[in-house]
Symmetry: C2
Subunit: 459 residues, 2 copies
């Protein structure tokens, strides 16, 4: 545990005034995300307002070898915010300016603290949108740092595909810009992709340039109920394999549907369900719908129930995005433990069957939901964080689920990141490539001050 030197405290306090804080409540809030991981509070919090200020903070911390942890909306699910060695939390939420939008080039540049909902509200009048939507209203800096995705990834890709350029403060305070606004480039190492998904361990992202998309001419959304999970998943796999360009294809199990009904005041049939959304010109959408309906029918799916107005559609997806909260709120004093894996689609049925078997023997309430078009699904447990037996039980189930996904050629996390929660599985998945990751970390952050203890084990 680093002890915060008095000189650093004084320097930050003098420089940032009441934007520097050591109050207990603020520190506790900045030391945890939304999941079961207990808070490990930083020693102090600074609210930065510019890239240059972030650079100043990092320089001051580097001089004293004090850890620096970036904070956006606090929606991490895998312990990314735990100050396991103390240090300074750099809160970027006030860096929430939308700096530039180009409707001509379908791109924009935002400060890291802009949230996805803020951006889409801003874009709507211009007929544009940014598709990446993790359930939470996360910041775009945080989404870049964890390589986030969400329901639209099956059509539009993840943050990996949709970040064009970044402004980054390096561990010694230097400021660089990675990538550029051209849609493609073969000029140099792909530093953008190196920082996307680096979880704050190589530097702090302060600005993000993103691809945008025109709002589709036609949008249709529908739910389809299936007699069994296998038939629902079988339909999803067939849609992917035929290359039908669905915009969303979400699986929800009966437990999730019940929770969502209660939380969002809906009355969906509590059965295994796929939720679809179709984007395109009217003819293209008609074609997609007909193809998907035929596949669903082949797999025993019931009639499509359409969300025909924009309001109905928004209500549906809002309910889906609140699934995590819906599940956790079903049990008093519970915290959510949301694990996610992703496998090649051909292995999806086997992997989910295995997970269901594990859950059948687990005493903690849990549901399965997922972005099945990508082979990605989540299990959300509503766990009592004060009950060690429950935590141990969930950890054991999680371990078996993750190792099964890796054995099937998949990954230990499709979109939540490693944080502290999945460090144990990185080598099981990547083998000796982890040593190369450590070499890169050591070269870029030789003092080890950037979000220590996340992704790679502490040395």
């Amino acid at each position: 545990m680093t002890i915060m030197p008095e000189a650093l405290t004084q320097a930050l306090s003098a420089r940032f005034g009441d934007r520097f804080s050591r109050t207990e409540a603020l520190r506790a809030q900045h030391g945890q995300g939304e999941s079961y991981h207990p808070s490990a509070p930083p020693d102090a919090v600074v609210f930065a307002e510019t890239t240059e200020e972030v650079s100043e903070i990092v320089r001051l911390c580097a001089a004293e070898r004090v850890p620096v942890i970036a904070f956006g909306a606090g929606t991490s699910l895998e312990g990314h915010l735990s100050a396991v060695r103390g240090g300074v939390s750099v809160d970027l939420s006030r860096m929430n300016a939308i700096l530039r939008v180009s409707a001509e080039d379908l791109d924009c540049t935002v400060q890291a603290g802009v949230t996805r909902e803020q951006l889409n509200t801003w874009l709507r009048d211009q007929g544009l949108f940014f598709p990446i939507d993790p359930g939470a209203n996360a910041t775009l800096g945080g989404m870049a740092a964890t390589r986030a995705s969400g329901t639209n990834a099956v059509r539009y890709g993840t943050m990996r595909e949709n970040v064009l350029s970044l402004t980054v403060v390096l561990p010694d305070g230097r400021i660089i810009r990675t990538g550029g606004r051209a849609r493609k480039s073969s000029a140099g190492y792909d530093l953008t992709r190196l920082f996307v998904g680096s979880e704050g361990t190589l530097g702090i992202i302060t600005e993000v340039t993103l691809r945008l998309y025109g709002l589709p001419e036609t949008i249709s959304a529908a739910l389809c109920a299936f007699p069994s999970i296998d038939q629902a998943i079988g339909t999803a796999i067939a849609v992917v394999q035929l290359g039908i360009p669905v915009a969303r294809m979400e699986f929800m199990d009966p437990g999730l549907i019940a929770a969502v009904n209660a939380h969002s005041g809906l009355s969906l049939p509590t059965t295994d369900t796929l939720a679809f959304e179709f984007h395109g010109g009217p003819e293209s959408v008609r074609e997609q719908v007909a193809q998907v309906q035929a596949l669903a029918q082949d797999n025993g799916g019931h009639d499509f129930s359409w969300a025909s107005t924009p309001e109905e559609r928004n209500r549906l997806w809002k309910a889906r995005h609140n699934a995590f909260y819906a599940i956790v709120s079903r049990r008093q004093n519970a915290r959510g433990w949301s694990s996610d894996v992703c496998v090649p689609v051909s292995a999806l049925s086997e992997c989910i069957r295995h997970t269901r078997h594990l859950l059948a023997g687990c005493s903690v309430p849990a549901v399965i939901l997922g972005h099945v078009g990508d082979g990605n699904y989540h299990v959300v447990f509503a766990v009592d964080p004060h009950h060690q037996g429950e935590l141990d039980e969930v950890a054991a189930v999680n371990k078996q689920m993750v190792l099964k996904a890796i054995a099937l050629g998949g990954t230990c996390t499709g979109e939540h990141g490693i944080g502290t929660g999945k460090i144990a599985y990185l080598r099981a998945e990547h083998g000796d490539a982890v040593d190369l990751m450590a070499t890169i970390k050591q070269a870029i952050d030789p003092l080890g001050i950037m979000n220590p203890g996340k992704m790679l084990p502490l040395s």
Copy 2:
């Protein structure tokens, strides 16, 4: 210049027998690509047949600090193959096995020496294809190493988006696998994207796992002639901005059309032309065609001339892919100097106008062609490589074109890479981020033996 130690020569010769060679012709061939860059032959060539053999060669060279340069099909355009410090060329062309194809998961794994045409011939019967198509019949290892793209990138992305996983031999001989087969992952640094585009400077790619696509149900291709380049480019920009999912949208200027007609026995009207291809279900294609035709008409485009049979279509794209050879063959003893830049589409008209102005004052024959849907275009000069005045003249034009593209927010190379040819522009484009690239290079290849003198200046 490294002198190849006798002990290394003997060790490689003893181990690889007649797959190790020092003949002058073979060395000269391995020291250059297809462009104007003069050959800088390696000291020796080894034909590797397995990843483990590549690892052995690298270990032997590392022990003697002798450079190692990977060689695939030899189609580089920016001097990537020049052995500027001598060393050993590792020829991967015999590593041409297609190791695995999954129609279910739409992916495959191939050895690095498999060419794109070989792969697509193999896939055709399974109803699959791999879309990335630089003009040349390059190897997939080489295409990954230069972050190649081509005519389909506007719809399907580049190698950046289509490589899932790599097997790489590191500079000390260790073998790692990056990434995985899951469509998305948030597990660890994105090593796959770090090696894609690294031009052999961080390791040697020996196997590549790629995304595949189902052959579209409907394919249509058409040419459209325009009264002026501005109107052709204006149409392309409008198509992009409306998000019409064209599969190909290629610009060809009158000089290129004339060369292609002569080279490929066609009789296209010699005017500024866009070539389109549309992929999808029949209704989706009908919708795309109608939208694009309307936009072309608004911009003064003539009627679409359709390539209606697969044979006509193949002939058209084959001619387009041979454009480089077509231009160079128009002038005796000429070599091609193909430069490429890429800018945000909103800047495309201005950039191309500037380039045309430069070419109007240039004595060396040159044409403009490009993947304009991405904002990417090429100028191909047919230059006399023995005429220093011509080389200087082209270099000056190239410099102005590149600096203009960078000033417009673009990149000095959209798809050809840096090699030796564009080292001078990397810092102009990326600023201090180049120092971070050098830090990464130093950390991964501390001896500096991997393709030295490419991308980053020699230290």
